[in-house]
Symmetry: none
């Protein structure tokens, strides 16, 4: 009888938002961003099309929110001891955590790679992404420099290409890419 409190509304909003994002991630990841209509998402989430727009301003905003949330979560995970310096064991841990994240959020990473190569989506998201990546990149450069590599920038290219390439292959064909073994192998390569 008595009206809902602000907190109650807040709860409803949060849970609905999460629900929509979960469904959308699932569908986008499975069928591709353009192949999934707002209608489908709404139906799958058991709500009306209109309600979607109560929570997300547009389809673009929805995907942006999903991607950003994923990146933030990952960066949180990967954040070392915040001294801005990447120690050797931190790099090893970085590799481990990355693979861990891929194992746990396979769908997310599939979507992420699919979007990162879509020109219009990339334009939407790239600025924010590269901003987030900057500190990590600079720490890595320092790391490879300290480790005595001749061309640290190049080595970072090899490293990031290797990780990204393997992850991407994995998310599209998990059965052929034994993640645990790959992780061990990569750590082996860099842990010398």
């Amino acid at each position: 009888m008595s009206p809902r409190t602000t907190e109650q509304f807040e709860e409803i909003r949060e849970s609905r938002k999460k629900q929509i994002m979960d469904v959308a991630l699932e569908l986008f990841s499975e069928h591709g961003f353009h192949q999934v209509s707002i209608n489908q998402i709404a139906k799958e989430a058991g709500i009306s099309k209109g309600l979607m727009y109560n929570y997300f301003e547009s389809k673009d905003e929805l995907i942006k929110t999903i991607i950003y949330k994923g990146i933030d979560e990952m960066l949180d995970n990967l954040d070392p001891d915040h001294d801005g310096i990447l120690e050797h064991h931190e790099l090893i841990n970085y590799i481990h955590l990355t693979f861990e994240s891929v194992r746990k959020n396979q769908k997310y990473w599939k979507l992420y790679f699919a979007l990162m190569v879509q020109p219009p989506v990339m334009k939407l998201i790239e600025p924010h992404i590269s901003e987030l990546k900057k500190p990590l990149a600079s720490m890595m450069l320092n790391y490879f420099e300290k480790r005595g590599y001749e061309d640290p920038a190049l080595e970072m290219g090899v490293f990031s290409g290797l990780i990204a390439g393997i992850i991407q292959k994995y998310v599209y064909a998990p059965e052929y890419f034994p993640l645990e073994k790959l992780e061990k192998r990569i750590i082996e390569i860099y842990d010398k």
Copy 2:
């Protein structure tokens, strides 16, 4: 004055087809498959929408043709001495030729990666692709086995992930990925 022969017609047809495919590749690669309409392609190619359908029976068929042609060309390039055995120098050459192809057909590779991560397109193309890749894969397995790697399948995963990851990063940000140096570095890694 004399009526054109069948061959002449065929030639015209082929060159027109190629032209359409070139334009389409350019546009798809730049803006993404869904963002480019048949209308745009036709206009850019200087023909009418209707005529497009004289050459390709659908938009899907157009993209399929483009992708298949690219793969065929690449496999032609990479085909070693056809004895089904990959010698060490052939692997090194494979790396070189792959990077060479990427340098020459950057647009194609950009499109290729964009499409390979689109679930519906992958479904369209995948069967053909994996068929084509099979002999290469088996040769590689043999190669890594012969070279004494403990887990040849795993090593192939590392190898293909590394190559694919670097290429993909390159086609989206060529200025940050010095292809020549990367090629040299990778050859260095595997040439020992």
Copy 3:
């Protein structure tokens, strides 16, 4: 502490209604009826969407109420000595009061003119309006007849067209239409 009386509730209700109408008038006048959503009005008025429907049963009813209230107020102002006869000085006064009203309620008149030319709104409102205008019209006819005009109906058309035309131009471009001077000029025309 003591429970509010019915009158107090009624007062609150009335003042809230007025507030909503003021906000709505402002917004409708500025952006047009269809461009303003119930949501906007509610937000601007500091209440919830749902509560809006406690005071007005629909958007149409809201605009109707606003318009009717405006007309009633104006007719109140313009009502002469209630003898049903329009004396010369009363006509002059009518002109003056009309311009006075326009000066004071520019927003209202802007909205009024915008709505009066909207076919569906006109259908909604017209019956009531013409009912209200009837006595005024008949008085005017008598007036122009008495003043010796050959065709009183025609003269009324000229008169009302002139007033309406000027007001309308004024509310849309006040800076170009010096209302005081125009009022004087019109009075001059009819005051001979």
Copy 4:
């Protein structure tokens, strides 16, 4: 069998465009711009919704084209001997031609007045309109100055208000506004 020539296509385009504009004018004028959907226009014109967009980029562009065309036609009519000076008989003729145009294109004028008071439409159209009106306005100012009016700008306000007011009342209630008589009366007023 042989394909259509460019001229044939041109003809089809022109006639279709006109057909759509005619239907749209009719419907907009009768029911209002926002009340008429593209669907309705297409249905009434006996074509598909999609075809509409082959001829007009958007609903806004459609209404703009209709309005501009009408204004251009009218200004063509009203253009005197192009010496930039408005003679007395030209003003009289201007009045006549205006009323003539209203008689012939009642629907157009109804739409015109309905749109000119819609804030969002006005913003769309106003710049072009006021540009078109400038030369006419300056000629009129000169005219009233030459005729010895104390305040030419004011007189122009009265004049344009009178004409606009009468026309607008006429288009919404033709039966009550005898246009011929009104025209004569107005000419009488200014022809002294």
